[in-house]
Structures are given as structure tokens and as C-alpha cells.
């Protein structure tokens, strides 16, 4: 087991009070696995990722309880020094906006070399040679020249490639990609995703991809975890979530993907409302206020995790034996639609 989170709770202490950003997240990840964390802004995806990197904003952010195990070693109590040995070496990270996540006053080569010099004991020359290999690996043309250039001489897509090269430089076991394509043009998005997918298969690196775009998920991930209000509301493999999604929030996400085969009657529908205030998270299901199927119990009690199958679990009261049977609103349009576009890259 490469990574194992158990009931992870992360809070931020602010002047206004405690923000409970992550409220009990558990999942595990094997070597070479690609997992997607999906959900809208402010539901704890990035905070989960940051705590796995030991990058929570100090001193406000802290792991309240729960455990993070990296290759079987408990990491939640790591010192800054111990985290330095993990970051870049065991876990690499790709950030959202390539325009701002590269240092403008350092050459691309130097920025890739840094981690190598730090973790692999290379000298400058060796590191630069390896950086050159990395840039070739991420398919940047003219490497000899490019390696000595600065970020402002790169286009957005190329910068994100360079960012991927930085994350992969030390051959990490795991790469966390935090919205890696959100800031890119649509055409570049597809290229970067393809690259990420190919490299993942080639290097057998495990990947956690954080996104709010289910299209991105479908093209790369094997497993999907839908996060909402600081908890995982539904988890399963790709098929479980896309065709047999059980949580109303997952349905909502599916319905808000634009699709070419959508009929007029089945218009693109956003989920009404906003995510709950994590200063004072609700006692019951965090989605209750926005849910069309909300019951009395949803407001008062947190739904237990219900196992649908070996791979598929859902935290929703609708799956309780006493609940009324509810059919997924995605049937028939959603299901057939999804099947029709199975061959396409983006669902």
C-alpha cells in the first residue's frame, strides 16, 4: 500500500474560528494506481492533497486527527525535516496554474535540477543532464535551447509540461496533480492529459488527480472519489460512478457536464446553491440543503458509508433499507448518453 488515509481531519484556525476543511477522509492507494478526487471548489480536495504533502499553510492549518501512512509509515506527525525527504522524492506535485507556479527568475533547467541535486546527490552538471532527459520525456522540442530559457519564454502548455518534468524528476512513487489542466486552453488540456496518462503508464507512477471536471477524470482515472463538504460522499471505480452513481451529488455533477447528445428537454443543469459553510458544518449530510431527495434524517444525522459492491461505496441515507426507492435521474438519457460517447476521449 503506497498511501493510506484513515479518518483524516484537517482544520484551519482563523480569527473567525475553526474551519473544518477535511472532516474524516479515508482512502488508500496502491502503487501505479490513478485515483481522481472530484468535487466543486471548497470541498476539501486540495487540502487533502496538501496534507499528504505536508504542505498545509502553517501555522493556521493542522491535522486534527486521523492518520496518513506513506509506504506504511505514519506521516501525520512528521517534522518539517522529515517532510522534506518525502516531497519531491517520494511524492511530486503538479499545480493548477503553470503561469504562476514556476519561478520567473530561474531557468527551467535550474528549476528541474534543484530537486535532483537535493534528493539524488547529483552535481549541477549531472542534474542538468537529467533535466534534459526529463524535458525530452515531456515532449518539449529543442531541449538544448529550451533548458536554458526562463518560464516567460515558454507557452502555458509548455510550462505545464515543464512542471510535470519537475514533479517527475526524482522518480516519485506518487504524483499529486491539483487541477493540472484547469488553467489551460481546451486543446492544450487534452495534450497535457494525454502526456500525463502516457507518462503514468510508462513510469508506473501512482497519480492522485484533483479536478472538478468529470471529463478529465474519465480520460485518466481508474478510481473516482467524489468529495463534498470535507467528506468523501461516493467512491468507486470509473464505471461505478459514471453508470451506477448512487449519490444525488454525483448525479448533480453528471448532469452538469455539457454533452453533444443532450436533448432540449434534458438541459445542462447546474446544482442549485453553494457548498456548506465549513465554519459550522451541518450535523447531518453536508449535501442535504441542496438535495432534491432530502429527508428528515439527512438534516440531523451523518449518513453511514453504504457498500454497494466490493469497489463502490456511498454515504447517503437513500441507500438505507428504510428509505424510499429512488431511481437515478440520469436514466435513461444519462446512461445511454454516456454509453454512446464511450469511444470519445471526453465523456
Amino acid at each position: 500500500m503506497l498511501l493510506e488515509l484513515k479518518d483524516l481531519k484537517v482544520s484551519f484556525d482563523t480569527y473567525a474560528g475553526e474551519v473544518q476543511a477535511v472532516r474524516g477522509v479515508s482512502f488508500s492507494l496502491d502503487k501505479g494506481e490513478v485515483v481522481a478526487l472530484v468535487g466543486e471548489s471548497g470541498c476539501g480536495k486540495s487540502v487533502t492533497a496538501q496534507s499528504v504533502m505536508g504542505l498545509l499553510a502553517k501555522p493556521a492549518g493542522r491535522i486534527k486527527s486521523g492518520s496518513i501512512k506513506i509506504e506504511g509509515v505514519e506521516a501525520s506527525g512528521f517534522s518539517e525535516k522529515q517532510w522534506e525527504g518525502i516531497r519531491g522524492k517520494k511524492i511530486g506535485m503538479i499545480f493548477q496554474d503553470p503561469m504562476t507556479s514556476l519561478n520567473p527568475t530561474m531557468t527551467i533547467g535550474a528549476q528541474i535540477s534543484e530537486g535532483l541535486i537535493r534528493h539524488q546527490g547529483m552535481n549541477k552538471k549531472q542534474a542538468l543532464e537529467r533535466a534534459e532527459e526529463m524535458l525530452k520525456l515531456v515532449e518539449i522540442p529543442n531541449v538544448q535551447e529550451r533548458i536554458h530559457q526562463y518560464p516567460h519564454e515558454f507557452s502555458g502548455g509548455m510550462r505545464q509540461r515543464a512542471m510535470i518534468a519537475i514533479a517527475l524528476a526524482c522518480n516519485p512513487e506518487l504524483v499529486i496533480a491539483d487541477e493540472p489542466t484547469t488553467a489551460l486552453d481546451v486543446t492544450i488540456q487534452a495534450q497535457v492529459l494525454d502526456l500525463l496518462k502516457n507518462l503514468q503508464q510508462k513510469l508506473e507512477t501512482a497519480v492522485i488527480i484533483i479536478t472538478h471536471d468529470l471529463g478529465v477524470v474519465a480520460s485518466i482515472a481508474q478510481r473516482v472519489m467524489v468529495m463534498y463538504g470535507g467528506i468523501i460522499v461516493e467512491a468507486g471505480n470509473l464505471k461505478d460512478i459514471y453508470y451506477e452513481g448512487k449519490h444525488p451529488y454525483t448525479w448533480g455533477l453528471m448532469k452538469s457536464i455539457p454533452r453533444l447528445d443532450r436533448t432540449k428537454a434534458d438541459e445542462l443543469s447546474p446544482i442549485e446553491g453553494t457548498p456548506p459553510d465549513l465554519f459550522a458544518p451541518p450535523a447531518g449530510c453536508p449535501f442535504a440543503d441542496r438535495c432534491d431527495w432530502c429527508m428528515k434524517v439527512c438534516k440531523t444525522d451523518m449518513p453511514p458509508l453504504h457498500k454497494v459492491s466490493e469497489t463502490h461505496s456511498v454515504a447517503c441515507w437513500l441507500l438505507h433499507d428504510g428509505a424510499p426507492k429512488v431511481e437515478s435521474p440520469l436514466v435513461p438519457h444519462g446512461a445511454t448518453g454516456a454509453r454512446k460517447s464511450k469511444g470519445a476521449r471526453h465523456v
Partner: protein, 323 residues
Amino acid sequence: MSLFSYIMRRVLISLLTVFVVVSITFFLMNLMPGDPFIGNKAVPKAIKDNLYAKYGLDKPLFERYLMYLGNLAKGDLGMSMTYKNQKVINVIKQAFPVSADLGIRSLIFGVIGGLLLGVIAALHHNGPWDTTATLLAIIGVSIPGFLIGTLVQYIFGFLFSNVIKDVFNTTYQLIPIARWEGFRYTLLPSFALGFSSLALTSRMMRTSMLDVLHQDYIKTAKSKGLTPLQVTWRHTIRNAILPVITVLGPMTAAIMTGTFVIEKIFAIPGLGKFFVQSVQMYDYTMILGLTLFFSTFLIFMNLVVDIAYGFIDPRIRLAKGKA
């Protein structure tokens, strides 16, 4: 554009600027009522006329202007009108090195101290170090140099000397409070003069550091597992120092060309007093000479900073060999 043609273009623009500065100063100066030879003493008219003739003040304004420009083109700043047989250029030659010496010491103290303080304050944002640095900066910005000057004189020349007198029974001054005769003499004036630049630099550096610390590339640097020192030095300071460098040009020019108040308080034979006295005495040639000197120096420092900036920030580095 190559560096050479860039510098040539800048030099041409600078020459034009200096010309405009000199012209405006010339005419503004002559708008002041009075002239160098209206003194308190009653001078016989014949002598006065001779003086006017000697310095060319009997000629019409525009002719004098052209004459001055003509001399300037030959590199002649003329004779002082209040100091007997003193060329303006010689006054500058004598006094500027002293002011520059004091200025460089103050700058080293102010800029290096300010940068350090700014970095420390930003790294301990909202902590006790930050508060201390902020307090120092507020004191430095709000208390004028002459007050700080007299204060340190009082502390070292009176309180400290009294202690020495009581303990060692001598009038020896460890840190002298006036005159310009050796390293020990430079300490207090450098401190007094450099304190405000220290305050300004530390404020700017702190703000800039805090800004950079929130940039995404700092997160990237941390995600590589770099040590805090590496992140601070290679990623934070290097980017944070850029805006601070821009103020160094004018700051250097202002401090190195002498300050009236500090030089007066510490009895330092620098250039500062000539700026003030020349205006009071209607010393036309001196006013023009000093203005010319100061503006040239300021423009030069700005050019140096712009070129240095290009070396530090690759984004504005001049494209090599390209048009």
C-alpha cells in the same frame, strides 16, 4: 537592441534631460528678486558695476544664458560668485568625495540592514521580530534625521562620555560626535543618515517578501523538498528584491550628494551645505553647477539601476542581438 545601443540611446535622452533641467533652473533662478552682490554692506556703485561686469551680470538675461551654455559645452562651470577665486568645479571636487564617503557608508548600513530586517520581518510575519522591525521602520520614517543626529550625539557625547569620564577618568571620546577625521568619526553620521533608508528599505523588502511568499512558485519550491533556506534564498529573496532595487537609484543619488542637515550637525565638510548656501547667497554659477551635478548623478544612477535590473530579472533582459 544591443546593450551598447541601448546605453547610447539612454545617454542621449539623459543629455536632453540635463539640458532642460539646466535651462529651467537658469531662468527660475533669475526670477528670484535680488542678485549676488546685494549685500548688507553698502557698496559703492562703481565697485558694484565692476563686479557686475566681471561676472557678466550686466548683460541681458538671454545672452548670459547662451554664454553659460557655451561655457558648459567646454566643460566650464564657471567661478563661484561668493567664494573668492573658487571654481565651482573645484568646490564639487573637494566636497563631493566627503559626502560620497559618508553616503556610501550610510547606504551600506541602510540598505543591507534594511534588507535583512525586511527579510526577517517577513519570515516571522506577525511575530515579535516583525513587530520590532515595524517599530524600527516607523521610527526611521517618522523621526527626521536631525533629531536622530542630535539624539545620538546626546547619547554618545554626553551620557556615554560621562560614564567613561567617571570610570576611566579621561575625556577620551570613543565614538566622536563631530568632524571627519577617521573611521570612528564616521559611525554616528552614517547611522543618522542611513537610518531613514534602513526604514524605507526594510518596509519595502518586507512587503515584497510577503507578496512573493504567497506566490505559487514558492509552493512549487517547497513541493520539491527544498530546505527552508534554499526556498528563502533562491526563490523568495531573489524575486522579492526586484522592486526594492528600483528605489536604490534615486536613494543613492540623494544620499551620496550630501545632506545639509546631517553634515551641519556633525561638522562634516561635505557638499550638502553648498546646496543651501548657494541659493541663499544668489551664487548663480554654484546653483547651476550643483543642480547640473546632482541631476547628472541621479540620471546616471537610474541608468545603472536599470541595467542592473536587466541582469537580475530575465523578463526584462535585453534580447541578445535581436532588433
